[in-house]
Amino acid sequence: MLYALKIAARYLTASKAQTALLVLGVAVGVFIFIFMSALIGGLAEFILSRTVGDLSHVTIEAEDPDPAILIHPGGQVLAVIERGRARTASLSEAATFIPLIETVPGVIAVSPQITGAGFLARGAQVAQVSVTGLEPGRESDILDLDGYMTQGSVRLGSGLIVLGEALAEDMSLRLGQTVRLQSSTGVSAVLTLSGLYDTGNGLIDGSSIYVSLSTARTLFALPQGVTRIEIKLRDLNDADAAALRIAALTGLDAEPWTEGAEQLLEALDAQAQTGVFLKSFALITIVIGVASALLLSTYRRRPEIGIMRAMGAGRGFVVFVFVTQGALVGLMGGVTGAALGYLALLPFPSREDFEVGTLPMDITQGSYGLAITLTVIGAILASILPARSAARVDPVTAIGQ
């Protein structure tokens, strides 16, 4: 119906100011839609990168074997073997798994670790710490330690220890000084403080310490294997699928970060729903705006509709003329709004360098295509009522006016 399109376009260009206002109104709705998409998406991205970005995305942890229970045929528990306290559970074949895990698509880093509890002592001062043994050269694979260093070097070597500034301050430790670390298994070592970091996370800064994997081996009496494998993914949203693949590949219990992060996910979900709510309102505003403007136009053009009907234009033709006007307004408003939205988002920092204190707008999450599509659909739906009322115009009364 090329001809109906021509008439629709002419109607829109005939009253330029009115059409411009209508398109602008639609564009504002689309702008809000895109702004909300970018904000909600960016906010989620920001929150996730702040909370989960520094964490392992998929973790394989050595399981302490459950105490074996011997059950008597009569149903009586005969003996319970207490969980071994001295021996640390380990992933003894870690060395064979790591290259395997590295082949999983989306995996960007695999960090074998030995973790455990210990006491840090210097003179009379003692602090309880959680010890992580990292492979030298891969210290920043999971937590970006290098990025948080304030003094010294992140590089872990034999006899070196890296800890948080807060802990160092508590213990009046300075770079280059020595400190004694005793592990929960009873082994102790004297280590030299070679680096200080400040992550801003009180738990890490106040009670986590890092040593080399070999130091941890000695401390926890673990001649081979590791206790934990941390895996970082390119996209942390893929954690569930990646964990499944890794578990299938290795037979190990790979846990995605999403497990145990239900509250965070719920909060993000609530936030996303707020976004959907606001975006729906933006769309409803567009629909109401287009519907009322077109309805007004059908009243104004009643005599013309009557003439067209008398000249042999069918009802379908009239419907098409008005629905096409709606679609054109939706398209123009959608594209204008999307362009304005994109331009407005340009000045915001990209998702890699969100800063605290600014809105974490993510220009890549503007949902431009979706916004335009929904707007066109909305505008078409909005024009159905006016179009039907136009098609019902009685030519006799319309021309007689």
């Binding site: 119906m1 090329l2 001809y3 021509k6 002419r10 109607y11 005939a14 005599p303 013309e304 009557g306 003439i307 067209m308 009907r309 008398a310 000249m311 042999g312 234009a313 069918g314 009802r315 033709f317 030519p395 006799v396 319309a398 021309i399 007689g400 006016q401």
Partner: protein, 225 residues
């Protein structure tokens, strides 16, 4: 003489109960192919009502209406729209043209709406008709800027676009000055003579009616002369 259309016992009432007005009360009329007839009668006698029924824009309350052998009382909206497009042209007194379109675009409308687009052939015929109406200088003029007489001549051109058998004109010269009115009537007479198109023209003007070969007078809802 072959009949183009025939109406018989046409009744049209508006409203119901107390407010009921019987406008046409059993009107019968035959129009022959090639006739040029004036429709006369006092104001409120039902001239416009008859023209709208003949133009298939309104259905009679009762009675028969057939044109070109087709029963137009029982036809549905789609059939009537199609029939109107092919066989009937209209010239109204007011609100004749689509104001946002040029003279030519208005003239080709009846063909374009049927064909789904403005073809070169349709444009050529539109130009020819406008030239015949003495409007060659106004072909691409926005119709809103035309004078009253020019608008009516564009309307006549448009009514002829699809080569209809019948053109219904409801006071086509009603708001024109004498010179413009005469010009429009001369063109109608010329088309009627050259192409045999049947015209039915309602008017209050005896002089205009005098230009037609037949005068049909309505009164009290029937043809009185």
């Amino acid at each position: 003489m072959t009949a183009l259309l025939e109406v018989s016992e046409l009744v049209k009432t508006f409203g119901t109960g107390e407010a009921e007005t019987r406008v046409l009360r059993g009107l019968s009329l035959v129009l022959a192919v090639g006739e040029m007839a004036a429709l006369l009668g006092p104001s409120g006698s039902g001239k416009s009502t008859l023209l709208t029924i003949l133009g298939t824009l309104m259905k009679p309350t009762s009675g028969r209406y057939a044109m070109l052998g087709q029963d137009l009382v029982s036809a549905d909206d789609t059939e009537l729209t199609e029939f109107r497009n092919r066989h009937i042209g209209f010239v109204f007194q007011f609100h004749n043209l689509l104001p946002d379109f040029t003279a030519l675009e208005n003239v080709v409308f009846p063909t374009a709406v049927r064909e789904g687009r403005e073809t070169a052939a349709a444009r050529a015929r539109g130009r020819e008709l406008l030239t015949r109406m003495g409007l060659e200088a106004r072909i691409d003029f926005p119709s809103a800027n035309l004078s009253g007489g020019q608008k009516q001549r564009v309307a006549v051109a448009r009514a002829l676009m699809n080569r209809p058998e019948l053109v219904l004109a409801d006071e086509p010269t009603g708001n024109l000055d004498r010179a413009s009115a005469m010009q429009v009537m001369d063109l109608i007479a010329e088309i009627n003579r050259d192409e045999g198109t049947t015209f039915l023209i309602s008017t209050h003007d005896e002089k205009i009616a005098g230009l037609c070969r037949r005068q049909i007078v309505v009164g009290d809802g029937v043809v009185t002369g």
